[in-house]
């Protein structure tokens, strides 16, 4: 993130002048007498007062912001941006220069995942930009205006208001550069916000800077985890697996033995009186099966991580719906249907959760899944959540016939061979989805 501070050499008049009190000519002697007010003035003033009153009521009716006051160089706790969000009041500037009024009041909501801009009144979302789409943040001082400008990537999936912003600001960007004779210009989108003061603008820049730092840090740690996981599996010998292409011989990666795996999830905090979640799946007491023990510890952690994330992002009803969709997919529903339904379930704000499913999609459906992610604008290797899950490729052979939708190639002798890692994933998914459904039901019973 880089910050620029520029001051144009214009007059020092404030762009927002307070209109003088309207005063009529005092030619009429009657108006000079106390208690006598011109009827026109009375109506006008009454209208003014009414408008002011409405505006004042509007302001006082507005909900308080979910915010924190920062005294720079103070910083917020990273958890505040990871698990929560911070709101700040700004004005949305469509074009420069412009006269900004109360109608331009907006709220910018920051988290480690995205930046959301909504109108202050009505709370309609103007735009939402994932953090990985923000190229730069700048603070521009234009006389008394304190502008915070977000430079974002051009994305076909952006809302109409964003493309409008792109249209209006692209001209400004390309025009100024072409004047200086610079070569081809890369189009971008500028989100221009006006802060109340220099302090407010710097605070906003600082928060965004912290967001970037969190994202970079999380991505780096995930990169380290990925490297450890990739190196942890040991290719030991060649095995030919029965598959659609029987001539294929592949390396069978021998995953690590795990200790007795206990998928236990921490309890959720109370929220509005709902009883805390408690989810625990123990392995069979008669010791793990051979194939279960061969699952890598890190792979099991991936699954656990994903379930943890879902629990923080989805309601109990949504978790049940997720489990149902997973069941349907396993029972033969197409991957396309699975993707569409999940996308609908997660919505626009949570579509990044789809990336976490990558490790659990069988190889034969993975191409379609990847294409689907592209079409909905969820890109590979961006943002913290994507790096948490996005780069892992299943260690199973690409020729495995075992799929999570239960299809098996006819005549396959897999039944007689040791369970593949793909089978084990399917079994784990099946167990998890069963437990999720049970969890949802038990939560309903608790709240009843």
């Amino acid at each position: 993130m880089h910050s620029n501070c520029r001051q144009r050499g214009r007059n020092q008049n404030s762009p927002r002048e307070i209109p003088p009190q309207t005063d009529f000519p005092t030619g009429c002697p009657m108006e000079n007498e106390p208690g006598i007010v011109s009827p026109f003035k009375r109506v006008f003033l009454k209208g003014e007062k009414s408008r002011d009153k409405k505006a004042h009521e509007k302001v006082t009716e507005r909900r308080p912001l979910h915010t924190v006051v920062l005294s720079l160089p103070e910083r917020v706790e990273p958890d505040r941006l990871l698990s929560d969000y911070i709101e700040k009041e700004v004005k949305r500037a469509h074009q420069l220069p412009g006269h900004l009024t109360q109608e331009h009041d907006a709220v910018i909501s920051l988290s480690a995942y995205n930046v959301k801009l909504a109108w202050r009144d009505g709370e309609d979302t103007i735009l939402r930009v994932p953090i990985h789409d923000i190229a730069a943040v700048s603070y521009v001082r234009d006389d008394a205006s304190h502008l915070v400008v977000l430079k974002t990537a051009q994305d076909p999936g952006i809302s109409p208001s964003q493309s409008l912003c792109a249209e209006s600001s692209r001209g400004l960007t390309t025009g100024s550069l072409s004047e200086s004779g610079v070569g081809p210009v890369e189009a971008c989108c500028l989100v221009i916000l006006a802060a109340e003061s220099k302090v407010a603008a710097e605070e906003l820049c600082s928060l965004l800077g912290q967001v970037f730092q969190i994202v970079y840090t999380e991505s780096t740690i995930d990169f380290l985890d990925r490297a450890i996981f990739d190196g942890a599996s040991t290719p030991t010998h060649h095995l030919s697996l029965h598959s659609d292409d029987s001539s294929t011989k592949v390396d069978m990666k021998e995953p690590y033995e795990t200790e007795a795996s206990t998928f236990s999830f921490p309890e959720c905090a109370h929220a509005g009186g709902v009883s805390p979640l408690s989810f625990c799946m123990q392995t069979a007491p008669h010791a793990k099966t051979v194939s279960e023990s061969e699952l890598s510890a890190t792979a099991a952690e991936l699954l656990q991580d994903y379930m943890l994330t879902l629990r923080t992002k989805l309601s109990s009803q949504e978790i049940q719906q997720f489990a149902a969709l997973l069941h349907e997919y396993r029972d033969g529903a197409s991957v396309h249907e699975f993707c569409i339904n999940l996308r609908q379930l997660y919505g626009d704000s949570r579509k990044f959760l789809l990336l976490g499913l990558r490790p659990f999609i069988p190889e034969k459906d993975s191409q379609h899944f990847e294409n689907f992610l592209e079409t909905i604008g969820v890109k590979d290797g961006r943002g913290i959540i994507t790096d948490s899950f996005g780069r892992y490729r299943r260690a199973t052979s690409s020729t495995s016939t075992s799929t999570s939708n239960g299809n098996r190639a006819a005549g396959s002798s897999d039944d007689q061979s040791a369970p593949s890692e793909g089978d084990e994933w399917d079994r784990m998914i099946s167990d998890i989805s069963n437990d999720i459904e049970a969890l949802g039901c038990s939560m309903d019973q608790d709240s009843a």
Binding site: I221, F223, L224, A227, I228, D230, G231, P235
Partner: protein, 186 residues
Amino acid sequence: MRMTMEEMKNEAETTSMVSMPLYAVMYSAGKENPGLTQDIIMKILEEKSVEVNFTESLLQMAADDVEEYMTEQPEPEFQDLNKKAQALRQILSKIPDEIKDRVRFLQTIKDIAGAIKELLDTVNNVFKKYQYQDLRAREHQKKEFVKYSKSFSNTLKTYFKDGKAINVFISANQLIYQLIHQLPAW
């Protein structure tokens, strides 16, 4: 403080006839009683009120070339293993210098990730080429190293929340210790 064991040994040889037996005694005693040398050094530093962070210094010394840290087998795969192990130790030894600058430290972590991956890939190559009878045992040793690598990663996550660098140094030292002791067995 930053002297290799070889240098210390050489210095001991050239400076004093008395020091040589002391070095030999300490070396043998340390081998029999792990941690003894460290305890003695810590006590000396305490007595002399020397402001040295032992853990940090130990980590910085990890880059030194020490014969005991390497495998002696001449085959190319094992020499490659030596190089990868040395590369990892070198990068880990930079942590105390880089940790204060977030941007540089993140780059160091990426370098560590790459080095760990390359080391483990090399170990895998060795296992693949030399179909050992005691492969399970070697796999277990590799798994121990992976465990400490994961622990190091978790320590980093905690560090970015609480800012306590000393825990990162300790975890890095533990990882290096594992590396030193597993390498000959691989």
